[in-house]
């Protein structure tokens, strides 16, 4: 049990979105906590609101028609919902929180080379020369071979899995205290996935970086997470220690999730 102080504290979060005349209750009263240095998993049905929660928490909600946004959201004791944009930007760049998105193409700048985009996300203290070395180290850490070559490319010149790793490098560039990752490894093959997860885990341990990982893959949860939240239709239906969830799931949906995953990992370990 991790007894460190709470880093991210979400209370009764509601995010209702407008679709024409209809109000979609994407998040409908969610409580969610991440402690310092903790790794938390978020699983749940497609459309259950996982990505919306991640975007609300990191306050990255471009072109969304918000019907209602309420609740209490604090990071390291500071109110995020009411925070001025300038302060929020500082929080993102210097040891605050970073976000890895589910669809990297939508968040990479198509007209800028990869190296420059990572450079802009670096924590500000490094000098220009150090920057180049840091960029290459980051690309190397997320398992991209030939970092100098990748740094020169544009996003459309990369495969899906390569773009996903670039997003991870950008998110790590600011040396965050909390990494919020939405399906960080779905576009990666098994060996690269293992390598990227090892890197995340190493940074998590070495830098005491807290992680919140949204995933459809219970293998990621079993391998990395201390605790899990299970979401359904905009609500958290179960939250438990990882071992408890796997061995003693309380909610029907959790049980079904584990059963389906186990059936598929036929030859997987432990199943």
């Amino acid at each position: 049990m991790n007894a460190s102080p709470v880093l991210l504290d979400v209370r009764d979060l509601k995010v209702h979105l407008r679709v024409g005349p209809v109000l979609v209750k994407a998040i409908d009263g969610v409580d969610f906590q991440v402690r310092h240095g903790e790794c938390v998993g978020i699983v749940g049905e497609s459309g259950s609101g996982k990505s919306t929660m991640a975007r609300a928490v990191t306050r990255l909600m471009p072109n969304v028609a918000i019907g209602e946004l309420s609740g209490r959201l604090t990071f390291d004791g500071r109110d995020i919902l009411g925070m001025p944009d300038a302060e929020l930007r500082r929080l993102r760049r210097g040891r605050g929180f970073s976000m890895i998105f589910q669809d990297p193409l939508g968040y990479l700048n198509p007209t800028q080379r990869i190296g420059r985009q990572i450079g802009e996300a670096l924590a500000r203290d490094a000098g220009a020369g150090a920057d180049q070395a840091r960029i290459r180290t980051l690309l190397d850490e997320v398992g991209l071979p030939d970092p100098a070559n990748i740094a020169r490319r544009y996003p459309h010149e990369l495969s899906g899995g390569q773009r996903q790793r670039v997003m991870i490098a950008i998110a790590l560039a600011s040396d965050p205290q909390l990494l919020f990752a939405d399906e960080p490894t779905t576009a990666l093959d098994a060996t690269v996935q293992l390598q990227v997860l090892q890197t995340l885990y190493r940074l998590h341990r070495e830098r005491n970086m807290a992680m919140a990982i949204i995933t459809h893959d219970l293998g990621v949860v079993a391998e990395l997470c201390d605790r899990v939240y299970v979401m359904r239709a905009g609500k958290v239906v179960e939250s438990a220690e990882t071992v408890t969830l796997f061995e003693n799931p309380a909610h029907d949906y959790s049980r079904r999730l584990i059963e389906l995953s186990t059936r598929r990992h036929t030859r997987g370990a432990g199943a």
């Binding site: 049905e45 899906g160 093959d189």
Partner: protein, 332 residues
């Protein structure tokens, strides 16, 4: 044997782009000499390294890219030589589902408009019944209640919902084959199971075939008749039994890298915090997997192994030691 629906022969795709200084060009051999038959009505999985050319292969099969060398044939006819009528047939018979659903759907159109357009163009339903027809298509991919999705724009849908729309769109024309690039990766396991069942049902009902690119080895083992494994632009192994008896060291590595589902036995957490993934040297000449291969011997540095028959079950593998590799049990 009947003619394959799609056949690749010696296909290469080289991408060229300007380097940062603007002083020269750099090239990437995304697909580097691929021979492949896709049989009528089969489900062929394509798995492998990220960046190994799987999506590029899909684009070649879909005529979205023209190969820089080699040839793609549709039912025996070279794609480059199809006349207008054959081209039309090809466009209807070969459908696509892409990796990134958000970018494959028109952001300015509602679902009903986007799909209704196809219904009218191909006369799939009488005008008065278009909405009801579309609702049935959406219900078939698990969107419930289907009517509530018809008037949404793509950005108003979750990733999984977008992907189901893309699958519904591809299936509407009752194609002979669907080329799907990571159709499952934005779906949760319960929807994945639904989509896989849906593919099976459609296959039963219409004999539609699939080429499915995926990183989900468990799902591919469950659904595929054959699986092709790609590594750096090449198919290094292909066959129906690769999960039980991998004959290429890379296939073996992939299978052994699968995550544990037992939180008490996870290997990443067990790893010491200081451990770093090993660097992978790029091998020039000889076998392209040599730098990572635990089986490498002298000949691997001298001769690039060709894809060849191994054993008696129709498996092909590109490895000098494929017989020995295939004889070893999988270590998990």
């Amino acid at each position: 044997m009947t003619e394959p629906i799609l056949r690749l022969h010696g296909v290469e795709q080289i991408y060229t782009s300007r380097n940062a200084a603007g002083s020269g060009w750099s090239t990437v051999r995304a697909v580097d000499g691929v021979d492949l038959d896709v049989r009528e009505g089969e489900t062929l999985a394509v798995v492998g390294e990220s960046g190994s050319g799987k999506s590029t292969l899909a684009k070649l099969l879909l005529m979205l890219n023209r190969p820089t060398a080699g040839e793609v044939r549709f039912r025996g006819r070279p794609l480059a030589a199809l006349g207008p009528a054959d081209r039309q047939a090809y466009r209807r018979q070969v459908q696509a589902v892409f990796q990134d659903p958000a970018s494959s759907l028109n952001p300015r159109m509602t679902v009903a408009r986007m799909l209704g357009f196809i219904v009218r163009r191909h006369d799939l339903a009488p005008p008065a019944e278009v909405r009801a027809f579309l609702a049935r298509q959406l219900a078939a991919v698990g969107l419930d209640p289907p009517e509530s999705y018809l008037d949404r724009y793509p950005h108003q849908l979750s990733g999984g919902q977008q992907q189901r729309i893309a699958i519904a769109r591809a299936m509407m024309l009752r194609p002979a084959i669907i080329i799907a690039d990571e159709p499952l990766s934005s779906l949760d396991v319960s929807v994945q199971a639904q989509v896989l069942d849906l593919m099976r049902d459609l296959h039963q009902a219409t004999n539609v075939g699939f080429v499915i690119i995926s990183h989900d080895l468990g799902a591919m083992e469950a659904i595929a008749d054959r699986t092709a494994v790609m590594y750096r632009g090449r198919i290094v192994e292909i066959g129906g039994a690769i999960y039980a008896r991998p004959c290429h060291p890379y296939t073996r590595l992939l299978l052994e890298a699968r995550l544990s589902l037992d939180p008490r036995r996870g290997r990443i957490r067990a790893m010491s915090a200081a451990a770093r993934p090993e660097a992978v040297a790029a091998a020039a000449g000889g076998c392209r997997f040599r730098g990572r291969c635990a089986y490498a011997v002298d000949i691997c540095a001298r001769a690039e192994p060709a894809l060849r028959t191994v054993g008696t079950d129709g498996t092909l593998a590109a490895c000098h030691r494929a017989e020995e590799v295939g004889a070893e049990p999988i270590a998990i």
